[in-house]
């Protein structure tokens, strides 16, 4: 691999990693709300979370650009008060990837939390554990396999994100040009076929590696949650 290709790969991994990390607390909170809480507007919240699955990615990307652009209603105060900038930065690519992957992560984590036996949570309550402690010491550890699975889906979705990213943060080499965007660029120039194919192979290897690693983690987590020493 050339140094340019390695840079593209590292950028992709960085974007996907931060997208995954940012997704974790948000997806976990939403998954718990949907699995365990009862409130008005639950169906609406569920629908909004799932919107990125059915909306054209370019719509998500455009809305992000409007909201988080340097003069956008969210982008301007964020940059002014916190110094955080998303527009045309790799952070924006991570944000776009996180939002596109959120429904997948929430779905997996929600199912995992729903599968935790509520009778165990009740038993923990009789032993003196309040709701937050029950979540941390019973629900969370027993849902770990599903949570890991949700994170993996988010990571994988982020590696492949294209439409929302290119609309929101454009295709800037070294800043926002992740693997899919780079492949797209090479297919647009004469003689770029070979370059594109090389990156395709990198894509396949990385994705396959991530899948296998997660399968390994998942198996160990499943064993632990079932009460075996792993």
């Amino acid at each position: 691999m050339s140094s340019a290709e390695i840079a593209i790969l590292l950028l992709s991994l960085k974007v996907a990693f931060w997208a995954m990390l940012g997704t974790l607390p948000v997806a976990l909170a939403l998954a718990w709300l949907l699995a365990r809480a009862d409130f008005a507007g639950k169906a609406l919240l569920d629908g909004i979370i799932n919107l990125p699955l059915v909306l054209p990615p370019v719509v998500v990307g455009y809305l992000l650009l409007v909201a988080f652009g340097r003069n956008g209603p969210l982008g301007a105060p964020l940059e002014h008060y916190l110094g955080i900038r998303f527009a045309f930065r790799w952070t924006g690519a991570a944000l776009a990837a996180a939002i596109m992957g959120l429904p997948l992560a929430v779905r997996a984590m929600r199912q995992a939390i729903e599968a935790v036996d509520e009778r165990l949570e009740a038993a923990a309550a009789t032993l003196g554990a309040g709701p937050a402690w029950i979540f941390a010491s019973v629900t969370l550890p027993l849902a770990v396999p599903g949570i890991l699975n949700g994170l993996l889906l988010s990571f994988g979705r982020s590696l492949g994100e294209f439409g929302a990213t290119i609309t929101f943060v454009s295709n800037i080499p070294g800043e926002t040009q992740t693997l899919p965007l780079a492949i797209y660029s090479f297919t647009q120039v004469p003689g770029g076929d070979m370059q594109a194919m090389r990156l395709c192979v990198v894509s396949i290897v990385v994705s396959l590696g991530a899948l296998m690693l997660s399968e390994l983690l998942l198996r160990r987590a499943n064993l632990r949650a079932a009460g075996h020493d792993a």
């Binding site: 009778r119 165990l120 038993a123 309550a125 009789t126 032993l127 003196g128 554990a129 079932a226």
Partner: protein, 360 residues
């Protein structure tokens, strides 16, 4: 002590029950569907009553009139569930200490709980590797270590086989004798209840049909249908006066004489509670001779329990100790039994098995 009064309805089921319990073990007895588990859930705050008042040791846990509803984790109720409900991702030690974290000043040290329940070998195992009986022992220890004001046991033997049942019963008896935590023991098995409990609350279709001291309640004829016709009888408290090792018979002294029963693991001087089923008691007008039956007591007929069908229950008095005999209506007529007639009550020694005996 527990004061309970609550109305609760869910679907077709309705509960409207009130009772109080004292120290020691109180049995909550009734058929499945009678509302026993619902009562426990209401005490622990895992279900919410429509109205009522629940207090433990004068501490209000729920009072609809005053708008009090203490959340489950602040109620200090130890709860042993039918299925154990150990946390599968934690070791036995971590399960035991789970509640101790919230109540670090608990009265019962871990070492004592471990010794009382025989958990020494299990501490580093995970629940998946425990037998049913071991799981229940850990569940009991875990509940005790959270320093509860009262311990609720919801049919803790229901999912166990006979040897495991005997094992857990033995441990529960030890707790009753060595700790001061009052217990509410839910069961639909009269054997367990007779063996363990000091008092009993009988539930039927969501209502309390009787409550009081075990001995008194077992003698109450109107409760027979609820306690189970087949198992009905009297409970006699007695003291071991002699263990005849040669014959394997223990001699138990009570107000009306001496009982001989086989296979009793008890020391001379210990107080024993014996459940004598009415169907195991025969009557004779004269003291019979040439008979294999070893327990023969002079008694007086007190009354008859009105009963449909060919059999009836005769309430007897043996020098102050009540006993019940179930005989056929025809025999009662032929023997000319009336209130005040002196008779001899006959009880086969082997009809009293280990399941009928508890340590008082």
């Amino acid at each position: 002590m527990l004061e309970f009064a609550a109305r609760y309805a869910a679907g077709a089921f309705a509960l409207d029950a009130a009772f109080k319990t004292g120290p020691g073990i109180t049995a909550l007895f009734g058929r499945s569907g009678a509302g026993k588990s619902t009562v426990l859930a209401l005490i622990a705050g895992l279900a919410r009553a429509q109205s009522g008042r629940i207090a433990v040791d004068q501490r209000l846990l729920y009072d609809s009139a005053a708008g009090i509803d203490v959340p489950p984790h602040r109620r200090r109720i130890g709860y042993v569930f039918q299925e154990g409900r150990l946390l599968p991702h934690l070791t036995v030690r971590q399960n035991l200490l789970y509640g101790r974290f919230f109540f670090p000043n608990g009265r019962l040290p871990l070492a004592q709980a471990v010794a009382l329940l025989g958990l020494e070998e299990l501490l580093d195992r995970r629940p998946a590797k425990l037998s049913g009986g071991e799981k229940q022992r850990v569940a009991i220890g875990r509940a005790l270590l959270s320093d509860p004001a009262i311990l609720l046991l919801d049919e803790p033997l229901a999912s166990l086989d006979a040897p495991r049942k005997a094992e857990i019963l033995y441990y529960i008896e030890r707790l009753r004798d060595e700790l001061t935590v009052p217990m509410v023991y839910v069961s639909h098995s009269l054997d367990e209840v007779v063996r363990l409990a000091d008092s009993i609350v009988v539930l039927s279709e969501g209502r309390v049909v009787g409550s009081g001291a075990m001995r008194e309640m077992m003698g109450r004829a109107e409760l027979r249908p609820y306690l189970g016709h087949h198992e009905g009888g009297a409970v006699i408290e007695a003291r071991v006066v002699h263990q005849d090792l040669q014959s394997g018979l223990a001699h138990l002294e009570f107000g009306g004489g001496v009982f001989e029963i086989p296979d009793l693991e008890a020391l001379v001087g210990e107080r024993i509670r014996v459940h004598v089923r009415a169907r195991d008691v025969s009557l004779a007008l004269a003291r019979p001779a040439g008979l294999s039956i070893r327990n023969i007591f002079a008694a007086t007929v007190v009354s008859f329990a009105a009963d449909e069908g060919p059999s009836l229950d005769v309430e007897l008095d043996i020098a102050g100790t009540p006993l019940t005999a179930r005989i056929t209506r025809k025999s009662a007529t032929e023997l000319g039994l009336r209130s005040g007639v002196p008779v001899f009550a006959l009880v086969k020694s082997v009809s009293i098995d280990r399941r009928s005996v508890g340590y008082a």
